[in-house]
Subunit: 102 residues, 5 copies
């Protein structure tokens, strides 16, 4: 999985019918030092409810369809968790509570 | 999923029989600031009907086959929606209606 | 899918038994302006019959196994069509008939 | 599969329910000379029990779900082994026992 | 599929039980001119028996599990053939017999 920051939303009304009801978030990937990377992904969020600026865990490929209700949706990226903390070498790199960022 | 702009079409008559009837669009990827990237994909459009210059949402990998009727087609990229708006940090990056582009 | 040019062939006799009979082509990817990219792929061609220098459409990942007869072959790239034309912004980028190349 | 070093952990409480109980490790990829690459992955470790600084083998894509108990989890990267040795040209590049690193 | 050279082996005893008996080879990718690329992969070899320095064909993703006996193994890269020859523009780029390399 990858770590990404929620940067915005994508709206599409003329779409595959099975995508109705699936919120589409614009995510920007974060590297292992916490810096934003020039790489983004549009991911569905059907069960977690992530908000703007939150760090999330995103699954891609066929894993994205393993979330209940999305087994037959043409979705290749899915938010599967809101991140509380990221630790590297036992040091806190990120903490949602304190918005702690080295 | 990725955001891409419809740049053209690809025609192939000598092809796998299951691909008959699947329109093939030449898409160019767009980055999170709305700039065209030097990266393209040929995607099938079997249900959305996207036109030239429209911004679309494209699913890749096995997700591309989850669109009804394509379950057994050798397709690895599919247009799954025409994009109405893209917002970043609550700012409108793109809006189909006004062809609004920062 | 990607657009590629057939550049050669790969022969392997000591291989997984299910690969017997599958012609293996060496493809080089083409970018959206028609230039060859320093990136290649070995793809099976079990149903199209592409020849040297032809532009082809190649599907990768599990899509490659959706071609009839290859469902259980360890193949991750398959030629699924010979390209007749590629148009960008309503301009002909490539045409097999006239070997037209901007 | 890829070789990576365990660099830390990721904690997420608000997540897809099927991810409960799956430890999430922050891995950094290692190149063929044993150097750390500026590339990381968050992988689940549900059966191996890798520790900080250990070199591990990581499987990605649908392979990650082939570990018993994870068949229907939205996981796209899984630790599938702790590495004892890596040899290149019959020379030991890495050995867990002696923490031998050329 | 990709062309790679067998450069070494990876040993892991503490691993997913289904990986027992699967030889793990360290492969380095080769580009279309036959040069080694700074990119490697750890692939299983359960049916071909490739040796050090041999050029092999490697399948990745779910294709890797299509080799008999590996359907439910968490393997995402598999050696599926030892390469005899690679020809580009009807010229021999590589031949196993003569170890011919332009």
């Amino acid at each position: 999985m990858q770590i990404a920051k929620v940067r915005g939303t994508v709206v599409s009304t003329q779409k595959d019918p099975t995508l109705r009801g699936a919120k589409l978030l614009l995510l920007q990937f974060v590297d292992e030092t916490g810096q934003l990377l020039p790489k983004y992904e549009v991911a569905a969020d059907t069960s977690v409810g992530a908000g703007l600026d939150e760090w999330v865990l995103v699954s891609r490929g066929s894993a994205a369809r393993q979330v209940s209700g999305s087994e037959h949706r043409p979705i290749d990226a899915m938010v599967v968790g809101i991140i509380d903390t990221v630790s590297v070498d036992n040091q806190l790199l990120y903490s949602k509570k304190d918005q702690y960022r080295t």
